[in-house]
């Protein structure tokens, strides 16, 4: 009984702030700014069209989708083959190289974005979606390499041997035999990459300023010292978070592995 009560309290604490945000996005300005918190109110739908159509936040949703989608695709395209090599081949310095991939994911964003800002400025890619896509690919690539190494390692080696008996070359075996077997893991990895890129803030904040802004960079622009329109802020925040909650339900089984870099299988 005590356990159940504790759990209920914990869930209330965990979920109330988000519910409050959700409610605020449907409140009139008067209800949102009331002295005493308003729990029951007549919902309004005015904030969503206002902020996305009139204030031009819709293109930012597109930018976020493009950045997250392309960086996920790019990371998978070059990360999955690399992960396969780590899982199945042996060569000198393999674990050191793997450690190098680890450090790139661990690197603090501020220390990465300063040199990237200088670099993208030098090659003229500042304020383009390309710069953010490339920046996000660096951390997503490492995630792909760890997660997929684990998924490839889960496939029994006998399958490789059987495939070689059937006359597959190594490349053919990778493409036609192992890749389909690792597909569920790859889907989970893709979703995680998408979430990381979609949620990312600092790289995008530094690298883009105007047309290429992603949603996370756009939201703070609505917060001003005087007269913040919290209904609109909440509306954008809801659109930025709701898809992620759905995705979380989809990949929950693989979250532990993804978030602990393969150290815990879950």
């Amino acid at each position: 009984m005590v356990a159940l009560a504790t759990l209920v309290v914990v869930l209330v604490i965990a979920l109330t702030p988000y519910l409050w945000l959700l409610m605020t996005s449907f409140k009139t300005r008067l209800d949102a700014l009331a002295d005493a918190p308003v729990w029951l109110f007549t919902p309004t739908l005015e904030h969503y069209p206002m902020v996305f159509l009139d204030k031009g936040y819709l293109p930012m949703v597109g930018n976020s989708l493009i950045v997250a989608g392309v960086s996920t695709a790019l990371s998978l395209a070059i990360g999955v083959p690399a992960a396969y090599v780590f899982a199945r081949h042996d060569f000198a310095g393999k674990e050191d190289l793997f450690f190098f991939f680890l450090t790139t994911r661990m690197a603090p964003p501020i220390s990465v974005v300063v040199p990237m800002f200088l670099f993208f400025g030098y090659v003229g890619l500042i304020d383009t979606r390309t710069s953010v896509i490339l920046a996000h690919s660096t951390f997503n690539l490492s995630l792909v390499v760890w997660m997929m190494r684990g998924f490839f390692a889960d496939i029994p080696r006998e399958i490789d041997e059987a495939a070689q008996m059937d006359g597959h070359t190594r490349a053919g075996m990778f493409l036609r035999v192992l890749l389909p077997l690792a597909a569920p893991g790859m889907a989970a990895t893709a979703v995680l990459c998408f979430i990381l890129s979609w949620n990312e803030f600092l790289y995008a904040l530094i690298l883009v300023a105007f047309e290429s802004r992603t949603l996370t960079v756009g939201i703070p622009g609505l917060v001003t010292p005087h007269g913040t329109l919290w209904g609109q802020v909440a509306a954008v925040a809801v659109v930025a978070t709701l898809p992620i909650i759905v995705f979380t339900f989809l990949v929950q089984r693989h979250l532990v592995r993804g978030l602990t870099f393969g150290a815990v299988k879950g």
Binding site: I78, A82, P115, T248, A263
Partner: protein
């Protein structure tokens, strides 16, 4: 031996390098190259704000300035250490306790766990905004109830008070990341073998003894993993605190990442900013190397 077979043989042996090169190339071009460039910049006076500071070589001047003349950097370093040690220990305690609760008392764990995970999957920017709304000094929902309960003065705002602001942003971090600790510990608890527990119960061990002498020692690798991952992540904290307070009031919540951001992208002092960014990287690299040794090598496994 026919020709196509010979060709595929070459391809076969080439699979290893061929598959690795694109990944390495991306990291070298986007991370290693720019990083070396930044190290170069750290020896110059490059600044977009001051005239005439267009990258003249100044030797170790920026490093000397960091060590000797910049109390604000070291203050932000101290703030970051307080932040990291505070949030990691609270998240560890709460998260572990919650994992034990779920493990022992809850049957439909998966559903509960999924709801519990929502805070850490939201964009940190959104987390910052949510709490800014809850903690607003005039109409914040939480501010209102805290004042009703007499826990907060009528003029005090948690995010505007010099003494309360750091504990407040730390609590928001605890709210966001405790679920992560719970998630990992629950996975760890579920993976433990049953035999030692059954044997202990047969021998009449009390629950506390079982926990101290069996559960904790078996979970030691997980404990190390959680502490180090959370430690590194907390050290890198930027988004949420940036949105909540921007480092203020004053410099009360100016974590090291926020300070480095300010030097680079507000003061445009890029030569000195490079040194700051480099220092942040160095600390994390050390933590990371320690964690890799602790977790992977002592375990005698690379990836399980």
């Amino acid at each position: 031996m026919n020709l196509s077979r010979w060709g595929s043989g070459i391809l076969d042996r080439g699979v290893g390098p061929l598959f690795l090169v694109p990944a390495l190339l991306l990291l070298v071009v986007l991370l290693v190259g720019p990083f070396l460039y930044m190290v170069g910049v750290s020896f110059t006076d490059l600044s977009f704000a001051l005239p005439g500071h267009d990258g003249n070589f100044v030797g170790f001047e920026n490093y000397r300035r960091l060590m000797r003349e910049d109390p604000v950097f070291w203050q932000s370093f101290g703030t970051t250490l307080v932040f990291v040690s505070g949030v990691v220990s609270v998240e560890f305690g709460l998260g572990f306790a919650l994992a034990l609760l779920l493990f022992h008392h809850v049957q439909r764990r998966r559903f509960v766990l999924t709801l519990l995970l929502i805070p850490m999957m939201l964009a940190p920017v959104a987390v910052g905004l949510m709490w800014k709304l809850m903690l607003h000094g005039e109409f914040g929902m939480l501010t209102h109830y805290l004042r009703e309960l007499g826990l907060l003065g009528p003029q005090t705002a948690l995010l505007g008070n010099h003494d309360l602001v750091l504990p407040t942003v730390m609590l928001v971090d605890v709210w966001e990341w405790t679920p992560f600790v719970t998630l990992v510990f629950l996975a760890g608890l579920l993976s433990l073998p049953r035999e030692p527990f059954e044997a202990a119960v047969m021998d009449g061990a009390r629950p506390w003894q079982v926990f101290r002498d069996i559960t904790v020692p078996l979970l030691r690798p997980i404990i190390a993993l959680v502490l180090l991952l959370r430690g590194i992540d907390a050290f890198k904290e930027f988004d949420k605190v940036f949105i909540l307070t921007g480092g203020g009031p004053g410099t009360a919540t100016e974590l090291i990442s926020i300070y480095a951001w300010r030097v680079n992208f507000r003061n445009w002092d890029l030569g000195y900013g490079a040194v700051c960014a480099f220092m942040v990287y160095l600390v994390v690299l050390i933590l990371c190397a320690v964690s890799y040794k602790a977790i992977y090598w002592t375990e005698g496994r690379a990836v399980k």
